[in-house]
């Protein structure tokens, strides 16, 4: 389904409730009333093309934004991505950590094994944090600078070098290792842990891991589908100007 501006946001959420954390990042919270998307965007001072692009990219894996890409600034996208990062690091990871702490009581595990599984998740969380830091400290500032130069047109030596040595394709492939760790953790829970005393906790953790995996994939898709093409397009135009 292609989400468009005349749809009521409530209908969209009825259809796909996994979009709730996404609209939250735009400052829209449950209890938002009966307005359609255009009206809601106006109320919240949101760029409607941007809002629709993000919603559609999350909702439909086949969605590909074309001309809409040019209708909002990269700075807006980066602001959004950083909010998503906070959601992963400040909400999701602590939530799952807390559930995993409970495993000590609910699973017949000796201290060592419990520590090991716990550390496995901690390692995952640390890697995620490092990855996010690298994006926020290295890549986003570059993109913001690129966009600034793109708009006011004063390309300098620094940017010239950056464009030449730009690691954006590197950045594209970096998400894979993170996926593998999650995959392993799920399989350890499914196949190799001893039976829990109560079933609920195992299922709860597993559900959270599947959700996290889905959300991380979608997040990576937004970066690969929207951020990278935008950056590449700006780089190309700037390079052509040079010649």
């Amino acid at each position: 389904m292609l989400i468009h501006e005349n749809m009521k946001l409530a209908d969209v959420i009825q259809h796909d409730h996994t979009l709730v954390p996404i609209i939250n990042r735009f400052g829209i919270h449950l209890g938002f009333g009966n307005d359609n998307i255009a009206e809601i965007c106006q109320k919240h001072h949101l760029n409607i093309d941007f809002f629709l692009t993000i919603l559609n990219a999350f909702h439909d894996i086949h969605y590909f934004p074309k001309e809409q890409l040019q209708r909002f600034p990269a700075a807006m996208l980066i602001d959004y991505l950083q909010k998503a990062h906070r959601y992963f690091l400040d909400d999701k990871i602590p939530e799952i950590s807390a559930l995993m702490d409970k495993m000590a009581e609910e699973y017949p595990l000796d201290e060592t094994t419990f520590r090991l599984i716990r550390n496995f998740f901690t390692e995952y969380a640390q890697e995620l944090k490092k990855h996010i830091q690298r994006e926020e400290e290295k890549i986003y500032p570059y993109v913001l600078y690129l966009e600034k130069v793109f708009l006011d047109g004063s390309i300098d030596e620094y940017l010239r070098n950056q464009i030449r040595s730009y690691p954006i394709s590197e950045y594209e492939s970096e998400h894979e290792n993170m996926e593998e760790k999650l995959f392993d953790l799920k399989n350890i829970l499914i196949k190799y842990l001893p039976e829990p005393r109560k079933d609920e906790l195992g299922y709860q953790i597993l559900r959270e891991l599947f959700t996290l995996e889905k959300e991380m994939n979608e997040h990576a898709r937004i970066e690969n589908l929207i951020l990278i093409p935008k950056v590449k397009a700006m780089e190309k135009i700037l390079k052509n100007k040079e010649i």
Binding site: T113, F120, E180, D184, N187, I188, Y192
Partner: protein, 201 residues
């Protein structure tokens, strides 16, 4: 787990493309499906680069530029080729496909055909669930932090052999990362925690 990891569908009609994708999503173990409509420029090069394990293709969807694609893929790489056609078109196939999906087939017939393809690619060795003695030895070395080269030197094997063992271990256990393998190895008493601690990098 099936050996087939990536699959590509070439079919110009959206409904058929989406239907084929939906069918594939029901089979566990397939990691990646991508669809094309058949008229994309340089499609042969794209597919050759992708190296899918399985290619489901409607040869009549191909634009003239891409018409030679099935033959080229067949001669160049180890891809399983399945044709997707109407029954009445079967005599027009210019090529020996390893399987044919007919528009008229029922869901379960298609599923069975698909499973057969996936099954036939399965390596005999990875059908066993338990690790072999050799694999246990290698798993232990991996968990202790040795590189594949070091393991090869230590056990008088080629690096290639160690890589193959590693792949089998990953597949049998469904665990890919070294830290995941460590959890498994400790839980199953393949290594002791003290050994791990001594070798901590």
């Amino acid at each position: 787990m099936a050996d087939i990891k990536s699959m590509i569908i070439i079919e110009k009609h959206y409904l058929l493309q989406a239907g084929t994708e939906a069918l594939i999503q029901e089979i566990p173990g397939i990691m990646h499906v991508k669809s094309y409509s058949g008229d994309e420029p340089h499609l042969t090069a794209i597919i050759l680069k992708h190296k899918p394990d399985l290619l489901i293709i409607n040869p009549f969807s191909l634009s003239p530029e891409n018409a030679a694609l099935p033959r080229k893929i067949h001669s160049k790489q180890n891809t399983n080729l399945i044709a997707l056609i109407r029954k009445e078109e079967r005599n027009q196939l210019s090529f020996d496909y390893s399987e044919i999906f007919y528009y008229e087939d029922s869901k379960y017939v298609l599923e069975k055909k698909l499973r057969n393809k996936i099954g036939s690619q399965k390596n005999e060795e990875t059908n066993h669930k338990e690790l072999s003695q050799r694999e246990l030895t290698i798993l232990k070395q991996i968990v202790l932090g040795l590189t594949h080269q070091e393991i090869a030197d230590k056990l008088f094997l080629s690096v290639h052999t160690v890589n193959t063992h590693r792949k089998h271990i990953n597949k049998k256990l469904g665990i890919k990362t070294v830290s995941g393998l460590s959890v498994y190895a400790i839980m199953n008493h393949i290594v002791k925690l003290e050994e791990l601690a001594n070798n901590a990098r």
